[in-house]
């Protein structure tokens, strides 16, 4: 039944494209997304802890030992829920798209279908197929419907700015997947092409030498999409140029594809790749150390850059880099609590970043047509659109990890894990959190609670009120963050048994630290 999340999305895409009216396309897309979310929720209700739910398993290309194997464990289900929520909210926030509406929702739903597919695949080849399916719609979503800074709108440069961001994102993604493809081809040649299913590969005795070589290929390949420093530069430009719904999906779900790939493929299949090399280069003794430091740099660097941006969307874009750094850091702790925190952070950041982009892109930009913090200040948006201000304050609080919101649980777990595994790194991660508070506060003040206009000619904004779909979307996302933050067992009961399943045996090495 869970497989229908994928099929429904593709059917919905076709239906939305063929819909005779724009409004029908919107409704169809919303119905599809809600149906996907409902399917995930129903599965969640019937979930037995620790279960590995096999959805479909048929031989696909028997000549090459490839199977069409869809299954879900707790980690997959967590991210499926996230996809359902983000997709639904994204459609609510793009209710006002008037330009080529049918095509917009068609591309959007193809992307969603690909994402569902990645999270459900239990065959490496299949996972890669869905992963690539998700790349192409991203390109078109940004290139056709993207937003541009004030001043550039309507000029000939507008198109090229969008296309630049879209092409950059597509090329980064494709370069990353080329690395993964290279590793995949090597795996196929090494195993003799018997089977590509995760169960078979996780128990295949790859030599440590092979794992040392394959692990960084796959990890970097996927981490490009997770926004790992220094391969993150597609993220801020991509997020900023994307239309609201697409940046919600980019930050909310697509970056999770990368992190999920790092965990599911790189770490689960090649756990020995994390072992010490046996020698030191520049103070690094293992890939684990290298990637942990890169994650740390991402946390601090992303936050610091966000602190000095004038473009509202870039602030959120860089904050995504910082928050995704926590995911990667959590993965590199190799502790149960750290990994749990990492998956938790994937979910939490997906919801919160989606909400932040919704406020910035839909509520603010679509009304004021500017993303410049200095221009937004004099408009005194807190008085004009108080709902947006309230939502942004709450989302900002969730983003900086205030207890009660999901971000707190996630980052707290990552920090504990880091403390146990890599003690000195906690200091820098803590600094990253502090800077995070600073840039969130700065953006909040500048955008919503600016100085009242000194001059009469100050830019004025006659904003339409916040519409119903926007309110529904905001409440959906905020409610999710609060619910998970107040009762984290919803997710930890899913994630922990999955981490303790036989699939991760190699990574645990017997027991967790």
């Amino acid at each position: 039944m869970l497989a229908w999340t994928i099929y429904l999305s593709f059917i919905g895409a076709l239906a939305a494209r063929l819909a005779p009216s724009k409004h029908l396309a919107r409704v169809l897309a919303l119905v599809t997304a809600v149906a996907g979310l409902t399917l995930s929720l129903i599965t969640l209700v019937h979930w037995r802890p620790g279960e590995l739910l096999t959805v479909t398993q048929v031989a696909w290309i028997p000549q090459l030992g490839l199977s069409y194997h869809l299954a879900a464990d707790g980690i997959s289900l967590t991210l499926l829920l996230l996809t359902g929520i983000a997709a639904t909210a994204g459609i609510l926030f793009s209710w006002n798209i008037e330009h080529r509406t049918q095509e917009f929702f068609a591309f959007y739903l193809v992307l969603i279908g690909g994402v569902y597919g990645v999270f459900l695949s239990f065959d490496l080849f299949l996972l890669f197929v869905f992963y690539e399916i998700a790349i192409i719609p991203k390109y078109f979503l940004i290139a056709i419907w993207g937003s541009v800074p004030r001043g550039a709108a309507g000029t000939p440069q507008a198109g090229s700015l969008r296309e630049y961001a879209a092409m950059k994102l597509a090329l980064y993604s494709f370069a990353g997947s080329a690395l993964v493809l290279a590793a995949m081809v090597c795996v196929w040649a090494t195993t003799g092409g018997q089977s590509f299913s995760f169960e078979a590969l996780a128990s295949y005795p790859f030599t440590p030498h092979f794992q040392m070589f394959a692990f960084p290929l796959v990890f970097v390949g996927f981490a490009v999409l997770a926004g790992m420093w220094p391969f993150h530069t597609w993220a801020p430009t991509g997020h900023a140029a994307a239309p609201t719904a697409a940046s919600m999906l980019l930050a909310g779900v697509v970056m999770k594809l990368g992190a999920y790939g790092c965990l599911r493929v790189a770490m689960m299949l090649f756990p020995r790749g994390l072992d010490p090399w046996g020698f030191h280069v520049l103070g690094f003794g293992s890939w684990r150390g290298v990637f942990a430091v890169l994650a740390l740099i991402g946390i601090v660097y992303g936050a610091s850059v966000a602190l000095v941006q004038h473009d509202f969307k870039f602030v959120i874009g860089y904050s995504s880099v910082s928050h995704m750094g926590f995911v990667l850091l959590g993965l590199m702790t190799l502790t149960q609590i750290g990994l749990d925190g990492a998956v938790f952070q994937m979910f939490s950041h997906g919801v919160i970043a989606g909400l932040l982009f919704a406020v910035v892109g839909r509520m603010v930009y679509d009304r004021t047509h500017t993303r410049d913090l200095n221009e937004l200040g004099p408009m005194r948006l807190a008085h004009v659109i108080p709902f947006a201000a309230v939502i942004f304050v709450l989302a900002g609080m969730a983003s900086i990890g205030l207890p009660g919101f999901s971000g707190f649980i996630a980052e707290f777990q990552v920090l504990i894990g880091t403390w146990r595994a890599l003690p000195w790194m906690v200091v820098f991660a803590g600094i990253g959190i502090l800077i995070g508070i600073a840039f969130t506060g700065r953006a909040l003040t500048k955008a919503f609670f600016g100085e009242p206009p000194q001059r009469v000619s100050a830019p004025h904004c006659d904003c339409p009120p916040i519409s119903l779909p926007e309110k529904c979307g905001a409440i959906l996302l905020l409610g999710t963050s609060l619910a998970v933050g107040l009762y984290p067992r919803i997710l930890t009961d899913l994630i922990l048994p999955a981490l303790n399943s036989p699939l991760f045996q190699g990574l645990r090495g017997g027991t967790w630290r």
């Binding site: 399916i133 290139a143 056709i144 080329a178 081809v185 090494t190």
Partner: protein, 491 residues
């Protein structure tokens, strides 16, 4: 001298005879009965005759004995050649269907007949295991293609392209003949398996090396591998669209198949090794160099193109590099990978040219001319997207599985991943290729209309049907590669 049963021979060559007869009938009808009819009628009738010929040929092929061979490897039928011949016929049928949208010539009968004759040549080519017949069939094919290239008599470009193609092709034929004569001189035989038996010595004769290089040069021209690719961009650009599509699809399939036959069967003992740090002279390193050069040069040069057809030509050179991987690995598996790749590539490539052909009446050649296509003709734009993404190797389209299969097969051919250097280069280059393929799609899908008033495009129903069928084939073969692998798979 073994005696030949002429009845058996007739039965086995019935498919070729059917296609050749169809060509002759189309030609005769066109200059006799249909002489006074309007061009559209003549085209319709001749195309239908051609289609009937191809369908009959496919029918005969499915009935013909599975294994048959004439003495001296003159005509060898195996299940594999049958699959290749059927796919050649299918490609020829699509080419004929797409011909409908061209209106560049009044010599319709000749045009259709030439396509059919070229198909006959290719069918003989894949069934030949004899140097003499291979050469004759190859020249028959090339002659037909030269004329098809120069068929647009109103255009100087077309004539120039044909001349260039002819001069390069003639020279390459010379190289090929020289290499073949050396092979004959060394082995005393022109039959591929016998050559292999005679050449089976532990050391490599220097003369044999020269023969290998000559053969590689000769075939390098035919498959447009760098550095022997120079004719391709001009021929693709100057030739009538349908001819270019035909050259890019059918002739690729046949040339690659016969190149694989020649080097793998005749030069079985002289392979050498192209593995990293385990280099050993033979035809493998020669082809490996061609492959590496083609991938790099084809893909990098394609980035700089503004003409769509030149872009497709350079990307074809890049694809030739990937396909050579399948020959270099020369295992059962890599051969089936090569066949899968080249057949699906041919479908996508013919489709891309078909879309161009449908737009031809507007003189479209620059990439920017595609602007607003998704508005003016959503179905054409969707077809173009499917073909281009398949060429770029995006799943779930056929091109992706082809790439994965050929890379994996090449890598597992040598112990300890010996061909890794070449496979990594191929993967890196295919990542590069996405850039220029996306540029084409960007023009068709993203860029706003140059003029918002440009009317909706009207394409003939037959053309649209053919393109949809091609697109459907690309998607289906990508989602279910097993359908084709069952026929060409190892063992």
């Amino acid at each position: 001298m073994n005696s030949v049963s002429y009845l058996d021979l007739l039965l086995c060559t019935l498919p070729e005879i059917a296609v050749a007869l169809a060509g002759l009938v189309a030609l005769t009808l066109d200059i006799t009965l249909l002489r006074k009819s309007p061009a559209a009628n003549r085209l319709r009738s001749t195309v239908i005759i051609g289609l009937i010929g191809c369908i009959l040929a496919i029918h005969f092929l499915t009935r013909a004995p599975l294994q048959y061979s004439l003495p001296d490897g003159m005509f060898v039928v195996t299940p594999l050649t049958r699959v290749v011949q059927i796919s050649l016929l299918v490609l020829a049928m699509f080419t004929l269907l797409l011909t409908r949208s061209t209106r560049f010539t009044l010599h319709i009968g000749e045009y259709v007949a030439l396509i059919l004759f070229a198909t006959v040549a290719m069918m003989f080519l894949v069934a030949a295991q004899n140097l003499l017949l291979i050469f004759i069939a190859l020249e028959f094919l090339s002659l037909s293609l030269y004329i098809l290239t120069g068929f647009d008599k109103r255009s100087r470009q077309s004539a120039e392209a044909a001349l260039k193609y002819f001069l390069f092709g003639g020279m390459s034929a010379g190289f090929l003949l020289f290499g073949m004569s050396l092979l004959y001189g060394l082995s005393g035989s022109i039959e591929l398996p016998k050559i292999a038996a005679a050449l089976n010595t532990p050391t490599l004769d220097p003369l044999l090396l020269i023969a290998i290089v000559m053969v590689a040069v000769g075939f390098g021209f035919k498959i447009a591998a760098a550095p022997f690719h120079l004719w391709a961009p001009d021929a693709y650009q100057g030739a009538p669209t349908v001819s270019a599509g035909f050259i890019a699809s059918s002739s690729k399939v046949a040339s690659f198949f016969i190149l694989a036959q020649v080097v793998i069967i005749a030069l079985a003992g002289a392979g050498g090794s192209g593995a990293f740090r385990a280099y050993h002279p033979g035809w493998v390193p020669v082809l490996a160099i061609l492959a590496a050069l083609s991938m790099v040069l084809g893909n990098l040069a394609a980035i700089a193109q503004t003409s769509l057809r030149r872009l497709l030509a350079y990307s074809a050179i890049g694809h030739a590099g990937y396909m050579l991987l399948g020959i270099i690995a020369h295992t059962q598996q890599s051969l089936s990978a090569l066949l899968y790749y080249v057949i699906t590539y041919a479908l996508a490539s013919l489709g891309a040219f078909g879309v161009l052909g449908a737009l031809e009446s507007e003189g479209i050649d620059r990439i920017d001319d595609l602007r607003g296509l998704s508005r003016r003709s959503p179905s054409l734009a969707l077809c173009l997207m499917i073909f281009i993404l398949s060429l770029a190797g995006i799943p779930p389209l056929a091109g992706f599985f082809g790439k994965f299969y050929i890379f994996s097969a090449a890598l597992s051919a040598y112990p300890s991943l010996g061909l890794l250097w070449l496979v990594l280069l191929a993967i890196a280059m295919s990542a590069v290729s996405l850039y220029y393929y996306l540029r084409v799609l960007k023009a068709a899908w993203v860029a706003p209309d140059a003029a918002a008033v440009s009317p909706a495009l009207r394409t003939p129903l037959v053309t649209r049907l053919a393109l949809w069928l091609l697109a459907a084939l690309v998607v289906i073969l990508g989602c279910l590669p097993g359908l084709l692998l069952n026929w060409i798979g190892p063992g």
